[in-house]
Symmetry: C2
Subunit: 330 residues, 2 copies
């Protein structure tokens, strides 16, 4: 039987520390070659502008295979609709039957994306994080910061966004957010990106930028940058020269990052070679492949891999079983 679960039910089932662990384990499985993740499917619309991503895959021996559909329609907020939409489908690996429809409205995608940022920071951030820098003011800007609480010890944060009013609003919302309350974090607006970059040694970029935001010459020794905006062809948040300057470039998926991540732009500009990129799952298993010196510059290029969708779907399934909930049949 196929059952359906809605966002309000799903939200109650996801605990952040468990999620970070699941996503971390997923990257290891992926880099060990135990996950079949075909290339991401894309659809693009122009009037109104919208992007659709289809990510799907299976971990060998798992109970389910997973198909995730996520979209962003950028004019939706004008109609008071969320820009993001999405759902996750779980099918039996034994029979192909559709077992569960998770009508999560893209929330699971947002959460597993933020969890990947936390995993990257756990393994790549310098030991002493002086100040966290968040670039962008969307859903991921907030979530990336919130999920860093579990993995980083730091009490200062700078935020930069194109729109000053929205940046201020985001800071106010974060300050009054339940999830942030017991994190004694001072959050301020950065005057410009260069200021943020020179003050922060753990930076997360969360924008849909198509032109680089961070200049190579501004990044200090000992900085880690997680770039998670470039999830599609033509997007780029970091100057290609910054990847050339970095001591380590870590990709969630080398195949995807070469196709459409920050790495793609730097390879196109002939500033890095694909074989210098290390995969996050390999760094998790062998820390020598990541940062081994506080003065190094490290970059995590996150494009979002279907294994994250598989792992968060499994987390929901496990929590459902533990709660004895089966969902509503359709």
């Amino acid at each position: 039987m196929t059952t359906v679960l809605h966002l309000d039910e799903i939200r109650r089932l996801v605990r952040i520390p468990d999620l970070i662990r699941e996503v971390e384990a997923g990257f290891v499985a992926y880099s060990e070659g135990r996950v079949d993740v075909p290339p991401v499917g894309f659809l693009h619309f122009e009037q109104p502008p919208g992007d659709v991503h289809i990510k799907y895959g299976a971990i060998s021996g798992d109970e389910h295979y997973v198909v995730k559909l996520a979209s962003a329609f950028y004019d939706n907020p004008k109609q008071n609709l969320s820009a993001s939409n999405g759902l996750i489908l779980l099918f039996s690996q034994k029979t192909g039957e559709l077992k569960r429809i998770l009508l999560d409205e893209c929330w699971l995608t947002d959460m597993r994306t933020a969890a990947a940022g936390a995993v990257a920071a756990m393994h790549l951030a310098p030991e002493q994080v002086r100040c966290i820098g968040i670039i962008g003011t969307g859903v991921q800007a907030r979530l990336q910061l919130q999920l860093l609480r579990d993995v980083v010890d730091c009490d200062r944060c700078l935020v930069w966004g194109r729109n000053p009013a929205r940046t201020q609003q985001m800071i106010e919302e974060l300050q009054s957010d339940e999830a942030m309350r017991d994190w004694n974090l001072q959050i301020d607006v950065a005057e410009n990106i260069d200021d943020l970059v020179s003050s922060c040694n753990l930076i997360v970029t969360t924008t849909p930028a198509k032109k680089p935001l961070i200049r190579a010459d501004r990044v200090q020794a000992g900085t880690h940058i997680t770039a998670m905006g470039s999830d599609d062809h033509g997007k780029q948040e970091l100057e290609s020269g910054l990847l050339a300057k970095a001591d380590r470039i870590i990709a969630d998926s080398i195949a995807q990052c070469i196709d459409h991540g920050e790495c793609c732009a730097a390879i196109r500009d002939k500033l890095i070679e694909a074989d210098t990129i290390v995969e996050l799952g390999d760094v998790i298993k062998n820390s020598n492949l990541g940062r081994f010196d506080e003065s190094q510059i490290t970059i995590a290029d996150l494009t979002g891999v279907a294994v994250q969708d598989i792992q968060i779907a499994k987390l929901v399934e496990r929590a459902l079983s533990a709660a004895g909930v089966t969902g509503e049949g359709v």
Copy 2:
């Protein structure tokens, strides 16, 4: 709001003549470049053996974009389960919202696949069809024959399948089928494929064969063959030499057939060139591109294109509106 529709409801909404017209129009739109159809997504499982196809796309200016998931798990019948499973999702092209879940259990895929065979026969079969030949005994073998009734005037049919008992059973089922009753069609078992090929001048191959079934030297002048089994890498029903011998090779999608259809094998064997292949949508618009002589050999290579899924989903939506049905909210 998202609504869900089940197979029993969906079945009542699809009229065969309308379906054939919709699929025909879909191929025209596709060949005119009005449809965004990214490459098919595949997942493969070994224990137990299973294949998953993800087809998706959008016709420019339509209300919806469509994602179709279909699977075949070949050991399912041992557990009294259908080998095929599937569903179609309709999303708004304006907002990305999930509007409808068609839980059709792969029936819509089966129907739109059979309709493509009917469209190919309409435009490519010789005027005088002496005898229809069906190779294979699965769901498509039956449906391809049933849908030919609307487009071909013929009273003889030969069927060949690997398993004689299943072949006999299929013939008996077809003879007692409501949909076949007023078609005065004599259906017999062919002793072997060569006999079938030499007796029939409209042949449909519907198998998951990985080695060619039809030999080039057995095919008579004036024969049309629709090969619809090779929907994945490694499948092949026709000897490559047969494509070299044919006067016309017509692909549902040149891009897909070059990647994994009969054309793929013949190009790999260096027996045909990709630029000699014509697209079905172009033949529909301009019959000079198809058969123009009763003595020609024509081959339609059908791999299944997402535009067929789009068109059958639209047909269901239109029938729903006409019936004033909105479906059950989830």
